[in-house]
């Protein structure tokens, strides 16, 4: 059977969707394989050397390790298709419930960080890129490369030293849910994330603005006498934005990784801290579930990013 898709746009989106789905599938396969291919038996490792044979066997059954690997994989996919990511060995709560409980907080401050970073990066990147002054460009690049090279936990520690220890501007740690109250705890992590993101995003935007600037069509636009606002959007920003969007969607994934550390430092009850807790407690189902969740989210984000970039600029390859 041959699929008939009318417009090239639909065909491209369809192709990209298939790719996103197939990568998601492999994400699940890898998450499955990690626990099985590593040396040693997870069940006996978790219960320790002195554990009774029966307890180990019971845990193996609970983890689904008591059947052959192929059967395990079938069961695993079956569970996943029902949205069942397993149950925590520590608390007995289902993994999907843990995720729905902890992820909103993480999403909140990541979304804020991205919003601010985007708003700050555009003027910086466009202004310095368009001026194309060598001295500005290189001092900017040097500054941002230092920020990027500095680990986020060190930035966080220094920020805590200044804002929490020396002045009482932010609580050292803790969290309180609810909108206005939570910002007291979240503003510092958001500020740190924003600083790092601005450094990354504005660098890419700057580089593509510099590229755009020397393109022939920009010259044509000037000579055509395009009005200033139209010029800013159609001749500077829109042609430069695609690489930035692609990068942002990719950075979202990396930022999710970095949240693990920030949440631990600021004791925020988000998904990252949950993961670290699960690792320290050898809570395999939770680790595996969060791993799949992160993987699939990253795939989804890069799908959205590619799509947005393509809609902005048809030169982008999907």
């Amino acid at each position: 059977m041959k699929l008939q898709l009318s417009s090239p746009l639909a065909r491209k989106i369809f192709g990209r969707t298939i790719r996103a789905l197939s990568i998601s599938f492999w994400v699940m396969v890898i998450a499955f394989a990690l626990m099985r291919v590593t040396p040693g038996d997870p069940a006996s490792a978790r219960l320790g050397a002195g554990a009774e044979e029966e307890a180990i066997e019971a845990l193996r059954e609970q983890l689904g390790l008591n059947v052959n690997p192929f059967q395990q994989f079938i069961n695993y996919l079956g569970d996943l298709s029902r949205g069942d990511l397993g149950t925590s060995l520590v608390s007995g709560i289902s993994v999907s419930e843990i995720i729905t409980k902890t992820f909103p907080l993480t999403l909140t401050y990541i979304a804020f960080s991205f919003l601010f970073a985007f708003l700050i990066s555009i003027p910086i990147g466009v202004f310095i890129g368009w001026s194309n002054k060598a001295s500005w460009v290189y001092s900017f690049r040097t500054f941002t490369s230092i920020v990027i090279a500095t680990p986020n936990f060190f930035i966080a520690m220094v920020a805590i030293l200044f804002f929490s220890v020396q002045r009482d501007w932010a609580p050292v740690f803790g969290y309180e849910p609810g909108f206005p109250g939570n910002m007291r705890y979240l503003w510092l992590p958001i500020a740190i994330n924003t600083l790092i993101l601005v450094s990354i995003i504005s660098r890419v935007l700057l580089a593509s603005v510099v590229d755009t600037r020397s393109e022939e069509f920009v010259e044509t636009g000037i000579i055509r006498g395009v009005s200033r606002i139209r010029f800013f959007w159609f001749y500077i920003l829109k042609p430069s934005l695609a690489p930035t969007i692609v990068l942002m969607s990719y950075m979202m994934g990396t930022m999710l990784g970095a949240t693990v550390i920030l949440e631990t430092i600021f004791s925020l009850p988000g998904i990252g801290r949950e993961l670290v807790g699960a690792v320290l407690a050898s809570d395999y189902p939770v680790v595996q579930g969060i791993l799949i969740f992160f993987g699939v989210i990253t795939v989804f984000l890069s799908f959205i990013g590619d799509l947005l970039a393509y809609l902005l600029d048809r030169r982008v390859k999907l």
Binding site: R213, F217, E219, R224, G225, F234, P239, R314
Partner: protein, 330 residues
Amino acid sequence: MSNVLAKIQDIRIDVRVTRRLRLRIVDTASLTIQKGQLLGLIGESGSGKTMLCRALVGTLNRRGAYVHSGSIDFEGIDLVKASKKDWRNIRGHKIGYIPQSALAGPNPVMRIGAQLAEAITQGGRKSKEEVRRRSIELLELVQIRRPEVVLKQYPYELSGGMKQRVMIACAIAQNPKLIVADEPTTGLDVTVQAEIMELLRNIRKEFDTSIILVSHDLQLINSVCDDIVVMHAGATIEKVPSSKVTAALHPYTHALYDSRIDLVEPRGKLRTIKGQPPSVGKWPTGCRFADRCDFVKDVCRSTDPTPFVQVNDSQWSACIRHKEIYGGAK
């Protein structure tokens, strides 16, 4: 001489390389363009022909260049000193521009329709219906088939020749008095090239527009243009009607003409111009062609700058020895 549309007089253009270092890229260049004239501007790469065009359309500063001295008179306005307001009135209205590279011509992130609309509405707001009618009219004028479809397409969906036709349609949207076409056919197939040239000629005939056609291909220019201006090392060195190229009054023009490949007989020797054009910043004093010229004498190197003078009613030359070499004007 009310027939003159634009007059570039003795212009010098410098480019900032570093904070201190400045280089002359155009010096002692003059040319006049008549109303309705198709003028060819020819020169090797680095001869400053593109920079001269940029001066005409006012985008020198984008490349860190500026007019050092001289003037460009366009309908009574000196473009060198033109204010932003003057430029607003000129750009898109009186001077149209067809860009250099066919492949990077139209804005890649705008539909063809949007770009045409942009050019059409430069003259003031128009209703959607009006814009659409005019867009289709323009596309038909540049001989694009199925204009309704093309309006909705993005540049990447068009061939190089199509893109360049769109650029021409944008350039003529306001019926400008002058169109600057900077090597509009580089990178296009020879057949497409011929079609584009034919199109430019038709536009000139139909709207009485003046066109400056820049190229490094003398043969092309010679077959299309009325007058030819030759540039070498930043200076205009010859102006000659295309019908009289063989009677040119500068050795460089002859050298260019003689090095045409189609003049070579089968198995004959290709004639080339000896040496390299002097690179920017290393121009010799006196005639900048002296090192490559067969007729060079000491006086060529000692007269600086070599004056670009009118020899007869149709020809100009910057060769101080043209009378000796070519026996005066015929």
